[in-house]
Symmetry: C2
Subunit: 347 residues, 2 copies
């Protein structure tokens, strides 16, 4: 499959212009563009620029509100609730991250529950923003039912992701961003396209029976069995129950639900000042030291370097900043179509 | 192997009396006793009463301080640091949980970093205490190096556990308590005793090569590869770096280090008021409803009920409260020896 490389700034300009033409408000368009392009630069293509056409359908259909009226209510010194008024998850998450940072600046930590939202995009977008403020960032989102219930034969919870970013000295933050399934569904789609088998114990067919045939896989297995399932439930509690949003099978599906259907997603964002606990400079130096020590551990395979969370994404970010973001031909065609539809030049 | 069943109150009396005779201060002895017995009642034998002889060696050797001078410093509205002065982790964790609850009562959430501590016991002991106050509890501890570095051939981080407890209506809390390894090392010891093979992909030999021979296993694999490894690192950041304690291979080992050696362990405890986000009664009712819905999902195996985190422990708690806590003969003998040494009657 041929790939077309487009420079990030060119892609950003295009995406933002399309969003504005689609009547997405300037501040919202800015976050969506930044979130998508940063995520593609980091190599996380499943949550990158390829989602733009889907989101635009959401705006047209009425699922996504391009001109939201936010409401934030600080409830206690370290907590608040954010009504996203059904706008883009990128904007909702980033506004919530800023509120969490503000709360943490005064109270030490800030916790913001977000309700009435839509697709979150990459959870790392928000934690990396918090880390820029020399705080530890955590973010979570619910997602529609996708992972097989532990001991069950149907999906109930989504593969609810967890991201944690931690600032360190002399390099970009440590950044974990993981779904609570073994692999993403995007990986299954990729295997289908490439006519390859799936590994054992990553997916199951519609009866809940494990299969390696990607065409039959309709649900994913949780990472580490009951452990991943338990973590997914913790994320569900934070994002659905603490925000008053629907949970699990009651969440409208991203692709299957009509594009007029609001999704009522919930997110949860945490910011923690480091200097509540340790002197910031000492902490950040020790973080870098620990990461370096781990990378210098004896390798299992001499040719494969040891990495910590965020390392592959840092590498991709550097490479793609130079060489551009690769679009698969099907993605490129979709962008070309947008270019015609919105009458904006693209390549 | 024969098991001797002892009623929980009898065991509690014995343990507490032994601790007091070993000059452990009353308030400390109370928490250690409660933590060990509750954990055994919940069926988590690896972290239950069987550890008593080990802890007593720690008191004798000087590792564990039986008469600590605590220092708590509230740093911001929602944060504080707790110096455990090398006492039992049970007491340190419970004191920190109480401080977190106090902070949360005023600021919405409370976060306490614990330093100069020893073995934490079961992380659920603290989160269940927080849940009793109608708050969400989270607790974490570092542990000595035990899991194979992702991509490496040696252990660097421990199988750092995560516990989250959430109150719900009409039943005991949802309670996740999981190590970040696939299985515990105790499981490996059990397989050795029973001359059974280990499952694939749970442990590795001293060269870091995966093996199913439990006698050769010296390190554990992280759950879900880089995901469990990343989570373990997050726990390390909270418990070692935010508390100023040593990390990974720099942590003195629980069993191998001399019993005079202080361990400088760190823990991290979080309490979150529910009513900062949702009306408490509504939240707790929805929690119960969600748990019931999950338990009623179609089963993979008709004979095996679907459980959520904490269900197996609730079942064990009920059974063992009636029938007593089972001691293996080797454990029973160890208790008999303590009975002679401290001149306290035991069965």
């Amino acid at each position: 499959m041929g790939e077309i490389f487009i420079q990030a700034d060119k892609l950003s300009n295009f995406i933002k212009t399309v969003l504005l033409k689609a009547r997405v408000r300037e501040d919202v368009a800015k976050y969506v563009t930044e979130g998508l392009v940063q995520t593609s630069l980091r190599g996380v293509d499943s949550h990158g620029v390829r989602l733009l056409p889907h989101y635009l359908k959401g705006v047209k259909g009425g699922r996504i509100n391009p001109n939201p009226k936010y409401q934030f209510k600080k409830t206690f010194a370290s907590t608040g609730m954010f009504d996203a008024d059904h706008t883009f998850g990128h904007a909702a998450g980033m506004e919530a991250a800023k509120k969490a940072i503000e709360l943490a600046a005064e109270a030490g930590t800030g916790h913001v529950g977000v309700y009435n939202s839509t697709h979150f995009g990459a959870a790392a977008y928000y934690t990396l923003e918090i880390a820029k403020h020399d705080m530890i960032g955590m973010s979570f989102t619910n997602t529609d039912a996708l992972i097989r219930t532990y001991g069950g034969r149907k999906p109930f919870l989504g593969n609810n992701p967890i991201s944690v970013a931690v600032p360190c000295k002399g390099e970009e933050p440590f950044c974990l961003d993981m779904a609570t399934s073994v692999v993403t569904f995007n990986k299954i789609r990729q295997l289908r396209e490439e006519k390859l088998s799936a590994p054992l114990s990553v997916g199951a067919n519609s009866d809940g029976i494990e299969t390696t045939n990607p065409d039959e896989i309709t649900m994913l297995l949780p990472v580490g069995g009951y452990k991943g399932y338990g973590l997914s439930m913790v994320v569900e509690i934070l994002c659905s129950l603490l925000t008053g949003m629907p949970y699990g099978p009651h969440i409208p599906k991203m692709f299957e639900a009509p594009m007029s259907q609001k999704r009522y997603l919930g997110h949860f964002v945490i910011a923690m000042r480091i200097d509540c606990f340790q002197e910031k400079a000492v902490f950040m130096e020790r973080m870098s030291k620990m990461m370096k020590e781990i990378r210098n551990e004896p390798r299992l395979d001499k040719e494969i370097p040891i990495q910590v969370a965020g390392d592959p994404e840092k590498k991709s970010y550097a490479e793609r900043s130079r060489n551009g973001i690769p679009l698969k031909s099907v993605e490129y065609e979709a962008f070309k179509k947008l270019s015609e539809e919105y009458e904006i030049e693209f390549e």
